[in-house]
């Protein structure tokens, strides 16, 4: 699978370019998902955030997701780009584009891709909150470290 289709980048992602990569004469449908930086999470205001990736493995996992999609929805073509580094509110963190002959697989494969990204792609966000604190954690946003550091020690 071409590494051109599954990328981690520190540059803004062009939705237009991503779309052009998947449009094919045999296709009638393209779905796109964009994850953007949200200002408010559970009432807390984000100023900006940084995405950190285990980059080589993240690309490999994106490729694996592409492979899984190919097996489940053979007529689809998928591209995924993930932006790392510093992002501001409303910046695009991730873009998933799927083309297929008809619309149903394009929606299904797209939703599958974002769910899998949240499970297996080694990328983490570090949020800078308006109240001066920061937070690093999983996507369920269940664990907060208001002092800016997770607690040390503790049991296994």
């Amino acid at each position: 699978m071409s590494s051109d289709l599954f990328t981690i980048t520190d540059q803004p992602i062009s939705v237009e370019e991503m779309t052009q990569k998947v449009i094919r004469p045999e296709c009638g449908a393209v779905t796109t998902f964009m994850g953007t930086v949200r200002e408010l999470t559970n009432g807390k205001r984000t100023i900006s955030l940084e995405y950190h990736a285990y980059e080589s493995m993240a690309v490999k996992m994106l490729e694996q997701i592409g492979q899984e999609i190919k097996e489940e929805w053979p007529d689809t073509l998928a591209v995924i780009a993930y932006r790392k580094g510093h992002l501001n509110i409303s910046d695009i963190a991730v873009v998933i584009c799927i083309s297929s002959l008809h619309r149903k697989p394009a929606y299904e494969a797209n939703q599958y891709a974002i769910e899998r990204i949240k499970e297996i792609v080694p990328i983490w966000k570090k949020e800078q909150w308006a109240d001066g604190t920061e937070w690093i954690g999983d996507q369920l946003e269940t664990t907060a470290y208001p002092e800016g550091k997770p607690p040390k020690g503790g049991s296994l």
Partner: protein, 77 residues
């Protein structure tokens, strides 16, 4: 020698991105225990582990020159 990579909160706890140690032949479980004993990593048991960029299980062996990565719950998307 094996290379151990730390990310996110584990990286902040360790104060470093990676270490190299003479632990070839250890299982993933052995490496976790060694890290817990020697570096007091609070959340090591909750992390996923990858060997050479593929997810691995506790019973998998870490061989000479392998890279083992500790991967806290991811927050992409």
């Amino acid at each position: 020698m094996i290379k151990i990579l730390f990310f996110a909160r584990l990286q902040e706890e360790m104060g470093t991105e990676s270490i190299e140690v003479e632990k070839a032949g250890y299982t993933v479980r052995d490496v976790k225990e060694w890290l817990a004993d020697n570096h007091q990593l609070s959340t090591i048991s909750q992390t996923m582990v990858a060997i050479n960029e593929d997810y691995a299980n506790d019973d998998d062996m870490v061989n000479e020159s392998d890279t083992i990565a500790f991967i806290p719950p991811v927050s992409g998307g």
